[in-house]
């Protein structure tokens, strides 16, 4: 679209705008649909962004961490822990290995058993945090060596439970983006219907305009501008309401997990501002196509 056409679309022509009479229900329908769709799009965007953040975080944590659990009788636990640390330090691809302190282990169990857990009196296994180098270690070789030298050691590379969660978070992100596409498509469909209704209701106006020498582009512009501005205004209202809704949601917290992190972070708050522009583009394309088709059908 040329700069001149954009300028005419934005600035408009008061005289040309009056040529098509204001139409009640199509105006209200377009405004309502645009506002509702923009409202839903804000939530779909928030869901998608939050899912993306979660997937990235989980994937990052999954990437280079593992846990070695020493399930040994209390009198052998320290010796097996030391043996395991020795094995890990000798294993190529292991960047660091560190046995968690009693306080750290108690903190991990605190959400389930409370802060005053008497760890000494419980058969709690010793945990060793393992961090890999970029090249990683030979998992099968490490397991075999641990099996031989530390009988109570169980290597957990987290993938068993983290990978499905990361996959689910990524699916959720795709679902959010797909929802935005569906919302855009539904809005285009509704605006096309409204534009067609307006064009049909103004058939006589169009006939008069053509009789006095109006070109198709002039007639189409009168309708396209109207619907584009309605969509822009409707989407603007919907986005403001949607952002207020997201802002009112509980802030992200460790306890609340994923549900409380469903919002925008930092620059992410600016992303919904693109929705009214996209809505206006959708309305422009939908109305242009509808007008071109209908005017083209006239003799």
């Amino acid at each position: 679209m040329s700069g001149g056409r954009i300028r005419r679309l934005v600035v408009g022509d008061a005289q040309a705008d009056r040529v098509v009479p204001p139409s009640g229900f199509t105006a209200q329908l377009t405004l309502f649909v645009a506002a509702a769709m923009a409202f839903l799009a804000v939530f779909a965007l928030a869901l998608s962004l939050a899912s993306g953040r979660l997937a990235d975080r989980w994937a990052d944590e999954l990437a280079r961490a593992a846990t070695l659990r020493i399930n040994a009788p209390a009198d052998q636990r320290a010796a097996q822990t030391q043996a395991a640390l020795t094995v890990l330090q000798q294993t190529p691809g292991v960047a660091s290995a560190r046995a968690l302190t009693a306080d750290e282990q108690a903190a991990l169990l605190a959400p389930w058993f409370g802060a005053e857990l008497p760890l000494d009196s419980l058969p709690v296994p010793q945990l060793i945090e393992v961090l890999e180098t970029e090249s990683g270690y030979d998992e099968t070789g490490l397991r075999l060596r641990l099996q031989a030298e530390v009988p109570g050691a169980v290597l957990d590379d987290h993938s068993r439970w983290r990978k499905p969660l990361v996959d689910a978070a990524r699916s959720l992100r795709r679902l959010g983006l797909f929802s935005i596409l569906l919302i855009g498509g539904a809005m285009a469909g509704m605006i096309t219907l409204a534009a067609n209704a307006a064009l049909a209701a103004n058939a006589q106006v169009i006939e008069v305009l053509r009789l006095v020498g109006a070109q198709d582009s002039y007639i189409a512009h009168a309708f396209v501008r109207r619907f584009t501005l309605r969509a822009l205004i409707g989407c603007g209202v919907g986005v403001v309401l949607g952002m207020i809704g997201v802002w009112l949601m509980p802030a992200a917290s460790q306890e609340g997990g994923f549900l409380t992190g469903l919002g925008f972070v930092g620059w992410g708050w600016l992303m919904p501002l693109a929705i009214p522009v996209l809505g206006a583009v959708v309305a422009f394309v939908a109305t242009s196509r509808a007008a071109k088709k209908r005017l083209g059908a006239l003799t």
């Binding site: 005289q15 040309a16 009056r18 040529v19 009479p21 006589q204 106006v205 006939e207 008069v208 305009l209 053509r210 009789l211 006095v212 020498g213 109006a214 070109q215 198709d216 582009s217 002039y218 003799t299």
Partner: protein, 225 residues
């Protein structure tokens, strides 16, 4: 200026016009007459491109009307002012804006056309009714407003379809006077009417030719008019 060459037109299988030939030369004044349903309005529509002939050829300003694309057709209609029998106004706009409609669609700056617009309103005697909406106008006022709209772009040809069909004798004479004045300014005029008294009155003022549609064909009317 407008030339019909062996033009035929079928309405859904039925033949309405056949082998119609005529030429509207610049500055001429033609009347088109004939019984109701003979095809007067159809012939006018063929002249300004609202209908396409099923046979023959219509040429306007040396262009084959059938070969014009939609944009060219719109430009052609700015060169031919048309007064419709039912006037066809946009009822939500006041008379002044309806008259200015051809200027608006042609992209003219109305603020620079206000003097011309006012002059035109004075000429057709509607300056007092400029801000009325079309449904508030009488039959004669509507026809005068339609005539003003037809001439505002200063077209070379003016076509009027039964302009005096719904007005009294006095008003029809006033409308005729406006058409005669336009003809004297050099405009080509084509008026479809079955009002023979109007034709006789015009003959007393300007040189006219009278065409009659009879049995699907166009004939030059005799001296009985």
């Amino acid at each position: 200026m407008i030339e019909l060459d062996n033009v035929g037109y079928n309405y859904g299988g039925g033949e309405l016009l056949t082998n119609v030939s005529a030429q509207l030369s610049p500055g001429s004044f033609h009347f088109l007459t004939g019984p109701s349903g003979a095809g007067k309005t159809t012939l006018l529509k063929l002249c300004y491109g609202a209908l396409s002939p099923t046979s023959g050829r219509v040429r306007a300003f040396n262009m084959d009307v059938k070969g014009l694309d939609r944009n060219q057709m719109a430009l052609l209609r700015r060169r031919i002012g048309v007064v419709h029998q039912d006037c066809r106004f946009l009822d939500h706009l006041p008379v002044k804006e309806n008259i200015a409609l051809p200027l608006t669609v042609a992209g003219k700056d109305l603020s620079q056309e206000q003097d011309n617009l006012q002059e035109l309103l004075n000429w057709v005697g509607l300056s007092e009714r400029a801000h009325a909406n079309p449904p508030e106008l009488s039959g004669g006022e509507r026809q005068r407003a339609a005539l003003a709209r037809a001439v505002i772009l200063s077209p070379e040809v003016i076509i009027a379809d039964e302009p005096t069909g719904n007005v009294d004798w006095e008003m029809s004479q006033r409308l005729l006077q406006l058409l005669v004045e336009l003809n004297r300014m050099g405009k080509t005029i084509l008026v479809a009417t079955h009002d023979l008294a109007l034709i006789r009155a015009a003959k007393n003022q300007v040189q006219t030719r009278v065409l009659r549609i009879s049995d699907k064909r166009l004939q030059l009317a005799g001296a009985d008019l």
